[in-house]
Each structure stands twice: as structure tokens, then as C-alpha cells.
Symmetry: C2
């Protein structure tokens, strides 16, 4: 039959085809993603810095969200082979283009 199991994926596909907005929302709807993007834009671009400002997040979750943002092409990851290894995150052009939209959203909700 394949009913309950496939409907979830099928519905998702339907949404993607219906409107590009759904794809866009998917990209930014991770629980911490918007905040991660904002902090990276403000030079909080190291794993430990992010962990500090996003205090209650777990390593696992933070790592997952970063990986997803990277595969969505919103951020890039640069590994620097220093003594204690260091990793810098930076926004891509697409990531930067999202900032004013997030700003609009924030103002929208304040009204």
C-alpha cells in the first residue's frame, strides 16, 4: 500500500512544486538558523563563539544546523590548520542577501 509513509514526502514535493516560497522557508526554518546567520554576519563566526552566544544549544544541534546551512549554500566553512585547529564560517552572497529579509520579518512581527 505505502500510504502513511509516503504521503509525507509526497506532500513535501507538492509544496515545492507549488511555490518557491516553500523551498525558501525550508532553508531558514531550522530552529537556530536565523540566529546563526545573524551572528555570523556580526563576526561571531567560530564554532565556540556561536556556542557561547547561543548558550543553550547542544554541540550536536549546532553542528547539524551549520551543516545544513552550508549545504544550502548560505555559509561557507574554512578550516585553518593552526595549532588548535580553527574553523571560520562566512556568509555567501546568498546568505548576505537574506539579512535584509530577516530584518523585514522582524519589523513585521513588531507591528
Amino acid at each position: 500500500m505505502i500510504k502513511a509513509t509516503s504521503s509525507n514526502a509526497a506532500n513535501k514535493a507538492f509544496l515545492y512544486q507549488s511555490c518557491r516560497i516553500n523551498a525558501a522557508l525550508d532553508v531558514i526554518s531550522g530552529r537556530w538558523k536565523a540566529l546563526i546567520i545573524i551572528h555570523i554576519s556580526e563576526a561571531q563566526n567560530r564554532f565556540s563563539l556561536l556556542k557561547a552566544v547561543l548558550a543553550p544549544v547542544s554541540d550536536q544541534t549546532l553542528g547539524r544546523q551549520l551543516k545544513e546551512l552550508e549545504s544550502s549554500k548560505l555559509i561557507t566553512k574554512t578550516i585553518i590548520a593552526e595549532v588548535p585547529v580553527r574553523v571560520d564560517y562566512h556568509l555567501t552572497e546568498k546568505g548576505k542577501a537574506l539579512l535584509p529579509i530577516l530584518q523585514d520579518l522582524s519589523e513585521w512581527n513588531d507591528r
Copy 2:
């Protein structure tokens, strides 16, 4: 101890306090909400009409999303006591203000 159980709500509270964006994202991150808002703005503002354009959605889920949008003050619900009862949905000012932002998001993702 209250650990695993309370952390979810605690993290959510943290996000809300950190930035207004999280509250805004919460409002529009239901799976069908963006599409519902768009269709209502285009006069597909009846339950059955919405169900038709959002083909694979279930009654239950559609009803839930509508109720959430209503309590977020994005749409209003008007019950008209005709022979087969009829219900009209309309966007509030806040709901209308969201449309251009959704448009921006859509264009952003197309780049």
C-alpha cells in the same frame, strides 16, 4: 532534575528573547501556512476552495493551520449562516503586510 523535558521549552523561550525574528518565523513555519496566506489573498478564501488548491492536505491538517493563523492574527474567520453553512477567511492587515515579504523570500531563493 527536569532536564530533557524542560529544555525544549526553555530553548524556545531563549530564542524568543534573543530575537524577534524567531517569533516571526514561528508564525509562518507551518507546512502549509505560506501557501494558505497566498491563496486567501487571491480570493480562495473558503475551506473547500483551499482544500481543492492544496489538494493533498487532509481536513484535519488544513483546519489546524487555519486555526493557528487565526490565533496569530494573520487571518479572520467569518461564519455566514446560510443553508449549507459557509465560512469566509480574510487576511488581516498584518496578514497583508506579510505578502511582500513572502514575495521577497521567493525571489531570494530563485537567485
